[in-house]
């Protein structure tokens, strides 16, 4: 039997001609796979380093009172009187929840329109064009825009919901873009067979397309939410900073990134530790959100 057996030819042991693969190809295959594995490991190294760094600097600050008391300005009397990060945690939850409530339905809606209705029309191209440009806008510019329009422009003060609007603007292009990518991959055959069975367009979208695309879209949405939760710049000039817990989105609202940013430059060591503890708390919160959302998404996946 020649080294390059004809397709289908079997060896004595019954195996198909495995050695139809030339040594050169096999080497390339092994090299490529090794390279891919190496890259994956490389991708994970920074994570390990950052998590270790965060744990080392932030875990010491954690305690029950850390999560249940508001930050105070009592930085110069030492001890536990500097308070915890309660208002920051609650603030972040509220602001990001509102931002997501604005950005996610809107973003998914626009993406659905782009894929289902707009497609390649000039109007759709224009929308895509502008959304694309929006992806590169620095986070601080969104904050400044809201600052100009809603704070200075109306002569009114900082408010939590204004921060949410800035974050929603930040999330919107990411949600639209990633949802569009995923929706485009839903096989046309799926849509067409549903339509052929007489389902109206809206049912096809809600019952066939969206559920199929849901796991992928959840990924994109979660990444957008994670980004929004960690951004400081849009909040500096919009939701501003306050120490006391405040549930009203119409007033000043604290948030974890702002608290971290403010504290990490303080001369008082205890305050800097609080900043790192807060950073660790933020990462943990987003991780939990990720896990919960994935669980929900997995349940609703089409079998």
């Amino acid at each position: 039997m020649s080294a390059f057996g004809a397709p289908g030819e079997r060896s004595e042991s019954g195996q198909l001609a495995r050695y139809a693969v030339s040594p050169a190809r096999r080497r390339k295959d092994r090299l490529a796979r090794g390279g891919i594995l190496a890259c994956t490991v490389i991708a994970l190294i920074p994570l390990a380093l950052i998590v270790y760094y965060l744990l080392r600097k932030g875990l010491g600050a954690w305690s029950t009172s850390f999560f249940t008391t508001d930050p105070t300005g009592n930085t110069f009397f030492g001890g536990s009187s500097i308070g915890g990060i309660k208002s920051a945690i609650l603030g972040t939850v509220e602001i990001v929840a509102l931002a997501s409530a604005i950005a996610v339905p809107t973003g998914v809606g626009v993406a659905v329109w782009l894929v289902e209705y707009g497609r390649i029309s000039w109007f759709a191209q224009t929308v895509r064009f502008f959304v694309d440009v929006l992806t590169g806008v620095p986070s601080i510019v969104f904050g400044l825009f809201v600052y100009i329009v809603l704070v200075v422009g109306t002569g009114s003060s900082y408010a939590g919901y204004k921060g949410s609007i800035a974050l929603a603007l930040l999330m919107l292009p990411v949600v639209i873009r990633s949802a569009e990518v995923i929706l485009l991959l839903v096989p046309a055959a799926l849509r067409e067979s549903a339509l052929a069975l007489g389902a109206p367009r809206w049912r096809v979208i809600f019952n066939i397309v969206l559920p199929t695309a849901l796991p992928g879209m959840v990924t994109g949405v979660l990444l957008a939410v994670a980004r929004a939760a960690g951004e400081t710049a849009p909040l500096l000039f919009t939701a501003a900073y306050t120490q006391k817990t405040n549930f009203n989105l119409g007033g000043f609202m604290n948030s974890l990134p702002v608290q971290i940013y403010k504290d990490v430059t303080s001369p008082t060591t205890a305050v800097v530790n609080r900043a790192w503890g807060a950073a660790l708390a933020l990462v943990t919160m987003i991780l939990l959100l990720n896990l919960i959302a994935r669980l929900i998404a997995r349940r609703s996946r089409l079998a």
């Binding site: 009592n74 009114s156 919901y161 120490q243 119409g250 001369p267």
Partner: protein
């Protein structure tokens, strides 16, 4: 089953939206009532400005019961702009008000008032193992280091001032601020005053074109840079340097004495300076014998008649601001030394208190 899940998700979204809408529907976009407090027992005031002064204002705020102070450390410039657009009740600025700002603030319906609050200093910190204390520098030498003319620690210029110390030949790594800041303003202001070459080549300001050196962000960045690099020199805010036990040089003042940046020498810097009628003084190479020469000040800025000028918190906020200021200029001064900030000399403190007494709400003096 899918439909139920989608329905559940959708109704969750609607519910959140509804809750959020309820929460935000209280805030109208008028300037009268935007701040949050649900209980009317405690007033809420808002301020924005200087990052340098932020820790002290927050400490004062914590000490006061019945008053919530929301202070945004966005920078002196942004603080004044916020005050101009009536976003906050008071502003905080390290440099005194420029004429243009005074005009803009007066447009709100009442003239601007700036109230000096306390002082701070800028240390020249360095990292030179073996030289833990006693380094003496003068303005010209510092300027030459930052201009890149003096490159090693055993340069003749430095040797001339430090005959008693053996200096190594380590190269000097210059570190400066990369972000816009009042600390840079104070530092370059001093250099421009004492070194004509610096003044003509670089000038002064919150950001300048540094001819040499590494830029780091914030006091923490410069401090970290100095700690990490042997032979580094950087200018660091006094509170920071004292808190972290940095090694700093004593600087020659106008009277010819080499002074260390202690709280006393910082307060001494404001002795005997001429304070203009609007209290907007700027300490620059002071003449007092015990003064530390690189010193800066900070102000709280507001309109004289807060309510007339449309302060966002209304009358309650106006009263709250006065309470805050009275505390700060009174009992609050005791905290300053704990916080490693320097107090104003008695004469200027008295003038500040007078200015506070002159604040009004719709023509009536606030109590």
């Amino acid at each position: 089953m899918i439909k139920n899940k989608m329905g559940a998700l959708a109704s969750c979204a609607v519910l959140t939206l509804g809750l959020a809408a309820c929460g935000s529907s209280n805030s109208s976009s008028t300037s009268s009532s935007t701040t949050a407090s649900t209980s009317s027992a405690s007033a809420t005031i808002s301020g924005a400005g200087s990052t340098f002064a932020a820790p002290v204002y927050e400490q004062w705020a914590s000490a006061l019961s019945g008053l919530t102070v929301n202070y945004q450390a966005v920078g002196s410039g942004a603080g004044i702009t916020s005050l101009e657009s009536k976003t906050v009740d008071f502003g905080a600025s390290d440099p005194p008000l420029k004429a243009a700002d005074e005009e803009a603030l007066a447009k709100n319906g009442s003239p601007a008032v700036e109230i000096p609050m306390f002082l701070g200093a800028i240390t020249v910190s360095y990292n030179l193992p073996g030289v833990k204390a006693g380094m003496k520098l003068d303005g010209k030498t510092i300027a030459d280091i930052y201009l890149g003319k003096v490159k090693t620690w055993n340069d003749p210029e430095i040797k001339a001032l430090n005959s008693g110390i053996s200096l190594p030949s380590t190269p000097i790594t210059v570190i400066h601020r990369s972000d816009s800041s009042g600390t840079t303003d104070g530092f370059t202001g001093f250099l421009a005053k004492v070194d004509p070459e610096w003044k003509s080549k670089i000038g002064e300001g919150k950001t300048v074109q540094w001819p040499t050196g590494t830029g780091e962000k914030g006091n923490a960045g410069v401090a970290g840079g100095v700690q990490q690099t042997t032979g580094a020199i950087g200018y660091v805010e006094q509170a920071y340097a004292l808190e972290h036990n940095f090694t700093y040089a004593s600087v020659k003042n106008k009277a010819g004495n080499f002074v260390e940046p202690t709280l006393e020498s910082t307060s001494a810097a404001a002795e005997g300076i001429t304070v203009p009628a609007n209290l907007g003084f700027k300490i620059s190479n002071p003449t007092a014998p015990k003064a530390y020469p690189i010193t800066s000040q900070t102000f709280i800025v507001l309109n004289k008649d807060l309510c007339k000028a449309g302060t966002p918190g209304g009358e309650a906020a106006a009263k709250g601001v006065v309470k805050f200021l009275q505390y700060g200029l009174g009992e609050g001064q005791a905290i300053l030394s704990k916080a490693d900030y320097a107090a104003l000399p008695a004469a200027i403190l008295a003038k500040s208190k007078e200015a506070v007494a002159g604040l009004q709400c719709n023509g009536a003096a606030i109590g």
